[in-house]
Point group: none
Chain length 195, copies 2
DNA sequence: GCAAATTAATGATTTATTCAAG
DNA sequence: CTTGAATAAATCATTAATTTGC
């Protein structure tokens, strides 16, 4: 943390340090709230939080505000990195692993139902609007996808699953229509099966 | 709509019913994919899924789209209920345990720091501007909060995930509670902490 | 046994939120 | 700060289960 402040951690205690130095209790509570879901407190929330935390040491509204700002940002950052790493690792070990993955569902390929394909929805009645692989930004566009999948694939908190012994689901008689996407980014667009 | 046609369940088979009526095979496959991790298929994925499932009966892209939407939503819903129950139960046994919950921050109440309160920020110097408790709808009100958070915690396939910190939040001291389900499908909902 | 009547599931829409470019 | 894209939540509507009275 490089607390540059010469005042040496007393800011929280009452000194006139150059910057806020939260006490452990303050940090704990802040983190609690954050984890509880509070990501960007409103003005009044900040007021109240500040008031409460002031019991444990000097603190100002702006400190609280900045704390949340920073915490959120850094959290995102951390996650991003982690995923990056995970993904790299995955690719490292399985350079061409498509094979946990569902039939690839390659973009463009395939038959489409009746010219009218799926689109952004809303209340559009499924006009032809087309590709709009917007959603795609998520998938199939991005390698991170698969990671994500790996991630939440039930290590996590996800409550599903236990229902059926997770043997490989044969979805389709997978023909592994794996369309390698040769254009620019060549990540494959895949859907992992559970195991 | 309102195609009054009493074609009775043949929609899937080829009739002109008012709404799609998936065949068992279709349902099975969809569920397989869902459980496999596909929560929100992209446009192209939808197309392809549709194409494949059309072997088993009439089906359109929008049907697939809606199916995933609904399935995901109802899954969450179910989980929410379960957590609700869990929480109630917890409170029942530990009537006064707030202690993993957030400080209440009840609206309006509370002291404010120094007249100048916090607001919209940027680089404003913290004028008074005030309430804007928009964000609040979320938090601060309800202990259930934390649960809710868990809910959308990356079940989804959503790669953003910045929304919620990927770490599981420990709600109650729970380590692993399984909740036996009363409604239809009785998979157990175990919530394990991620680690 | 069988339909009309009622309830539960679930497909389809609409409306609100959310994030993050511009 | 505004706005567009993408969901998720809430809701409507229809189909399937089931209950019920005969």
């Amino acid at each position: 943390m490089t607390s540059v402040v010469p005042v040496k951690g007393t800011t929280g205690g009452g000194g006139g340090g150059s910057r806020w130095c939260p006490t452990p209790e303050q940090v704990m509570l802040l983190e609690g709230m954050y984890r509880g879901g509070l990501k960007t407190p409103t003005a009044t929330q900040i007021q109240q939080i500040t008031a409460r935390l002031s019991v444990y040491g000097k603190i100002q509204g702006k400190n609280v505000f900045y704390w949340f700002q920073n915490h959120k940002a850094r959290d995102r950052q951390k996650l991003r990195k982690k995923l990056m790493a995970l993904y790299q690792q995955h690719r490292l070990y399985n350079p061409h692993d498509h094979h946990h993955f569902l039939p690839t569902l390659h973009p463009q390929g395939g038959v489409l139902e009746d010219a009218s394909t799926c689109k952004g929805m809303m209340n559009s009645n499924w006009k032809v609007d087309l590709p709009s692989d917007q959603t795609c930004k998520f998938m199939c566009d991005c390698p991170l996808m698969s990671m994500m999948m790996m991630m939440d694939n039930n290590h996590g908190t996800t409550p599903y699953c236990t229902r059926v012994p997770p043997k490989t689901l044969q979805l389709f008689p997978i023909t592994t229509t794996n369309l390698k996407n040769d254009d620019d980014d060549d990540y494959e667009c895949t859907i992992t099966t559970n195991l």
